[in-house]
């Protein structure tokens, strides 16, 4: 039976109730101008806000399952806010979710793959009863007709479903956000799925970046800096290659994008330093496809 979500607005703050229960925080209205395109965006964010429950990703909770990879993804999670409930619907990705900030704009990307698995869980009829996975794709069923929301080349219908425009905050945007927040808060496996997919994203990224940047034998601290840069998209391959080829690769990698994103780069630097030997004692091994 689908849970009924209602919206409550107070100034720039949006709350929701599930089936008339206690109100819970969804997000705050914000505006954003893209520096490169000059486009204006409006949407929701919720980290850092004291109203948001502190459902934080901690590597120690997942080492048993994912071993070293639980630590490898933690610095980037801290850079993204660290909270399983992190929401951003105010930039060109239209809808990014979770401690890994999976973006809905990439076909077959991290959010799409994660959301397919969420929809496959038995709680889905409570949250997104009109969505299902057919032939490996997310479809919306309306009036007996199923329409694909994503293909190998586009997620535009899925983005429209989650967040119809980037110029205003729509009810459907708040409701979609509220559903994911409620689901993730109340079902441990919804959080576990984020971790599984974040590990998958970084494993896949390591193999891909190794092929392009020859990372075989590189320390995990350097590999992590490269992965974080690509995950956020703050530098391109040639710039990363130049930093890798320098005499101080980690320092130079941490400097990429530091003018536009000084806080993120500082957080990444301190988180890598905090991991210490846990990172520096491991090296990427191409043959194993893993750190050894």
């Amino acid at each position: 039976m689908a849970i009924h979500f209602t919206i409550e607005r107070s100034g720039r703050v949006f709350n929701s109730r599930a089936d008339g229960g206690a109100p819970f925080f969804v997000g705050c209205q914000t505006s954003y101008r893209d520096r490169s395109s000059g486009d204006d965006f409006e949407g929701l964010f919720n980290v850092p806000r004291r109203e948001l429950p502190r459902l934080l990703y901690k590597a120690t909770d997942f080492r048993g399952m994912y071993k070293f990879w639980a630590d490898f993804i933690e610095p980037t999670s801290k850079c993204e806010g660290g909270n399983f409930l992190t929401l951003n619907s105010y930039d060109r990705a239209r809808f990014t979710w979770g401690f890994g900030q999976f973006g809905a704009h990439v076909p077959d990307g991290d959010f799409v793959r994660f959301f397919r698995d969420m929809i496959g869980r038995p709680e889905n009829p409570d949250y997104f009863p009109d969505l299902s996975v057919k032939d490996g794709r997310i479809v919306k069923t309306s009036g007996g007709t199923a329409v694909a929301l994503e293909t190998a080349t586009s997620t535009a219908p899925l983005m429209d479903y989650l967040n119809p425009t980037t110029t205003a905050i729509e009810d459907s945007e708040v409701i979609s956000s509220a559903k994911l927040i409620h689901w993730t808060t109340n079902v441990q496996q919804a959080r576990d799925l984020q971790v599984m997919h974040m590990v998958g994203v970084f494993k896949s990224m390591m193999r891909e970046l190794d092929a392009r940047l020859a990372l075989d034998g590189r320390g995990a601290d350097i590999c992590l800096a490269v992965c974080d840069i690509r995950h956020q998209g703050r530098a391109k391959i040639p710039a990363i290659q130049t930093a890798l080829n320098s005499s101080r690769p980690l320092t130079n990698l941490l400097g990429l994008g530091s003018i536009s994103y000084p806080e993120r780069c500082a957080t990444l630097k301190s988180e890598i330093a905090a991991k210490g030997a846990l990172l520096t004692s491991k090296k990427w091994n191409r043959q194993n496809g893993d750190f050894v």
Partner: protein, 203 residues
């Protein structure tokens, strides 16, 4: 004589017959044959025969994963030791209700059960006409005892490795598919499904 070797080889032979469809933990799934295409449409008929529905095939509008499990047990010569059924709910209910009839099969809590090849891994499933399914062992066994039917799915455990288990099941991505799931201490921990029970197979 234990049926486990024959059960595993039957499941593997079927997987091969369908073109090695695979769903890994990470990365892209690879699907070989699909249920509605020849010759696979007729392979599904083989499974339906095992549960007394010889008119059905891969184009029939019924989920066939339990028929696949029943086919594998029947082919492995489980005889009267397995309660063949067209629904996973049906054979799980029979195992729970008739322990003296099926003494070598037992429903175990997946949270604490170490997996072995030949076991069945049972999970909740949603669907258009499905009532709300339980999400735990206690909820599932209570529903079985009270006769509350729900949609579900089960696969045959074929390989247990450190941190992962491989299972083979029917009607997974419209194929017979080998899927890999995450484990910890050889217990199922994969968050993609709500795990209801392990059917410990001592046949």
């Amino acid at each position: 004589m234990p049926i486990q070797p024959a059960l595993l080889s039957t499941a593997s032979d079927e997987w091969k017959r369908w073109g090695f469809s695979t769903v890994p933990v990470h990365g892209h799934k690879s699907i070989g044959g699909r249920e509605s295409e020849p010759p696979y449409v007729q392979f599904v008929n083989d499974y339906w025969v095992a549960v007394g529905e010889p008119a059905r095939n891969g184009k029939s509008p019924y989920p066939w994963s339990a028929a696949f499990v029943s086919f594998c047990f029947k082919t492995a010569a489980a005889g009267a030791g397995f309660p063949y059924n067209e629904a996973h709910w049906g054979y799980c209910e029979a195992i729970l209700a008739n322990p003296k009839t099926y003494p070598k099969l037992k429903l175990m809590d997946p949270a604490s059960c170490v997996l072995s090849p030949g076991d069945l891994l049972w999970a909740a499933r949603g669907g258009a006409d499905c009532p709300t399914a339980p999400t735990s062992f206690d909820g599932a066994t209570e529903a079985l005892k009270k006769g509350r039917w729900f949609c579900s799915h089960a696969d045959i455990v074929v390989e247990v490795r450190s941190g992962e288990v491989d299972v083979i099941g029917g009607n997974v991505s419209d194929s017979v598919t080998r899927s890999t799931y995450k484990t910890m201490g050889d217990k199922i921990r994969d968050p993609r499904h709500a795990w209801l029970a392990v059917v410990r197979n001592g046949l």
